[in-house]
Amino acid sequence: MLSIKDLYVSVEGMEILKGINLEVKPGEVHAIMGPNGSGKSTLANVLAGKEEYEVTSGSVLFDGEDLLEKAPEDRAKDGLFLSFQYPVEIPGVPMVNFLKSAVNEHRKHKGEKELTAGEFLKLMREKMDMVDMHPNLTNRSVNEGFSGGEKKKNEIFQMALLEPRLAILDETDSGLDIDALKTVANGVNALRSPERSAIVVTHYQRLLDYIVPDFVHILYKGKIVKTAGKELALELEEKGYDWIKTDN
């Protein structure tokens, strides 16, 4: 599904990713862990197509197609979803309108009929239950006045609506209390299927208690320095990142 080969990425002339290789197959959940500044968020953002990240070499194929050539909105419509580390506020734009546009852009892309207001509201209510979103939130402007936890839930809610084939969660657990963490994890788990994959970027192991990954990769100084099964996360929790740092 996703195939990253020898990817080098710079931001403002500074090299952040230095030769990333990663294969994600349908149905797999990959966790990417690593200390601050190792390039985790850069990887998430470059996959989503954020402009200021410059790919200096390497390739990324998504379903066999060159991902890096595509505009961010086309990547999204092809089924790539990024749950933002810092969800953005858009004053004056009601969540409902924003989401309906997003869902219908996806549907148009797939050659499906656009949803009417009524159909959309029905779908929205369904998905809202899934992540325990307060109905009031959808009447507000996009992320405006949301608490940190509400913002993160809102990301998972959007993911549930858009049903991506590859979800990238960029530190979705940061700033969440344990209940919110469980809700977020439940939302992600509910979407797991043999066709859908996820990349979970996280600093801490605790999220992985709830979203159990197939693989854990450790990213350090722009390179994946270690790959193993879910037990790697526990080992890392126990030994701390210094263990990685001294090895490399």
Partner: protein, 481 residues
């Protein structure tokens, strides 16, 4: 929500879609301006003497005036002798029924999305359509007449209700108020007149559509709205023009008089041709709009969405004479490419306990300049008066400009004036967030800008709000970067 989404998906073409020219025979007088021309206009319109005198006085005063240069605008010299001051679709000047109207002309209005035919049958909006200089057709006259409401072209009002015209003309905007108002007073050819009698609530929105069609003409229309005691009216104004390489002058005057406890809402969606991407062509929009809250507890509110014109110079204002009267100004002004706008409001508090609100949202893109200019003046006698002003500017790139020039004069100690201002640049993060949800950049900007302007758009009557949202999106297409 349905509507909003439809708009957002409907709109894919960034070009000025009203830029067509209608091929109708036009009665146009020779270019140039002198007393004979003014006499000729007055004679063509078979005006009574008081009107001719009004025009001549305006002209004589105008000759002694100079073009204002205090605005933050670069205005090329205008050759007033190179303009024709009267152009009218040939045919009879007035029509008894729509069947007599030139089919080409009706087609024009259909293209503009003003189905006069339909509107005549379906309840909704009463329209007075002014093409070039002459009012073409007023719909719903009979329905309105039953309530005693007068809604007709200005020239008709001069003939049929001279006493009302004479009583109120020039009361809000005096003959020589300013350079462009004086010019308008001298040469104005037509416009709309509206009178709402005592105690009457106008049952429908009244609407005027202005259209410049002929080349090398100016459009100088004049609107006069009088709301008698305890009456209410909501008035809409829309405007479009063909795309032409030369600049055309539009110098209109709108006067509103609100008597005791009367309320007038005046909404404008201004979409004159803005010129092309390189700044060639476009309308010079020099307009004077002023309302006088003459009666106690009267209220006048101006709501405008300004997206068109090469140059806009416009300050819809309220003179709050009556005690407890209220003035409002809500504005969204968009400039793109090489457009320039210097717009805002004046609130003059004279009566006691008067209140005014100014909400201005400027949006600049391309290489344009967008200025807010406002005056809040509270006279010594206007005890316990209040004003709140909020002026926000949104920049879409690094090559455009936003400027704010607020003037505040408070003449007593019991009044309160508040002023808030913000300037922000459209967030690339916001656009990327939309992109990541499958929404492309043009659509994202449309959403973000509409969100930004929502406070003002919400004040517009429903149909107009829809059109305004569409316009905001169109006028900003291709402006990212």
């Amino acid at each position: 929500m349905e509507d909003q989404d439809k708009i957002l998906s409907d709109v894919t073409q960034g070009e000025y879609k009203y830029g067509f020219v209608t091929d109708i025979e036009t009665d146009i007088i020779e270019k140039g301006l002198n007393e004979d021309v003014i006499r000729l206009i007055s004679a063509k319109k078979e005006e009574p003497e008081f009107m001719l005198n009004f025009r001549l006085e305006a002209y004589r005063r105008w000759l002694k005036m100079k073009m204002p240069n205090w605005a933050y605008l670069k205005v090329p010299a205008i050759d007033f002798q190179a303009i024709s001051y009267y152009a009218a679709p040939k045919n009879k000047a007035k029509y008894d029924s729509l069947d007599e109207v030139d089919p080409e002309l009706l087609e024009t209005f259909n293209k503009l999305g003003i189905p006069l035919e339909e509107q005549k049958q379906l309840a909704g909006v009463a329209v007075d359509a002014v093409i070039d200089s002459v009012s073409v057709k007023t719909t719903f006259k009979e329905t309105l007449a039953e309530k005693g409401i007068i809604f007709c072209s200005f020239s008709e009002a001069v003939k049929e209700h001279p006493e009302l015209v004479q009583k109120y003309l020039g009361q809000a905007v005096p003959v020589a108020d300013n350079y462009f108002a004086a010019l308008n007073s001298a040469v104005f050819s037509d416009g709309s007149f509206c009178y709402i009698p005592k105690g009457v609530r106008c049952p429908m929105e009244l609407s005027t559509y202005f259209r410049i069609n002929a080349a090398n003409t100016g459009q100088f229309e004049r609107t006069l709205i009088v709301a008698d005691d305890d009456s209410y009216v909501s008035y809409l104004e829309g405007c479009t023009a063909p795309m032409r390489d030369e600049n055309q002058l539009h110098a209109a005057v709108v006067e509103i008089i609100a008597l005791d406890r009367a309320e007038v809402k005046y909404s404008t969606v201004q979409n004159w041709y803005p010129g092309d991407k390189n700044g060639k062509g476009g309308i010079y929009n020099f307009v004077t709009k002023r309302g006088v809250c003459r009666g106690v507890s009267s209220k006048i509110s101006w709501t405008q969405v300004e997206t068109g014109s090469a140059i806009t110079w416009k300050y819809p204002s309220c003179i709050l004479m009556g005690d407890n009267s209220v003035g409002e100004f809500n504005s969204v002004a968009v400039t793109n490419n090489h457009q320039q706008a210097d717009t805002g409001s004046k609130m003059i508090h004279i009566g006691k306990n008067t209140k005014s609100t100014i909400i201005s949202k400027g949006i600049s893109a391309g290489k344009s300049d967008n200025s807010y200019r406002g005056l809040v003046k509270i006279l010594p006698g206007a005890k316990n008066s209040r004003n709140f002003s909020q002026c926000d500017s949104l920049l879409l790139n690094d090559t455009c400009g936003a400027h704010t020039f607020p003037y505040i004069e408070v003449g007593n100690k019991s009044s309160v004036v508040e002023h808030e201002a913000t300037t922000s640049k459209i967030g690339e993060d916001q656009i990327f967030y939309c992109n990541q949800r499958g929404i492309d950049t043009e659509m994202a900007i449309g959403m973000i800008v509409n969100g930004y302007a929502k406070e003002v758009l919400n004040k517009l009557p429903m149909e107009f709000a829809v059109e305004a949202q569409k316009l905001l999106q169109i006028s900003l297409e291709g402006s990212v970067g």
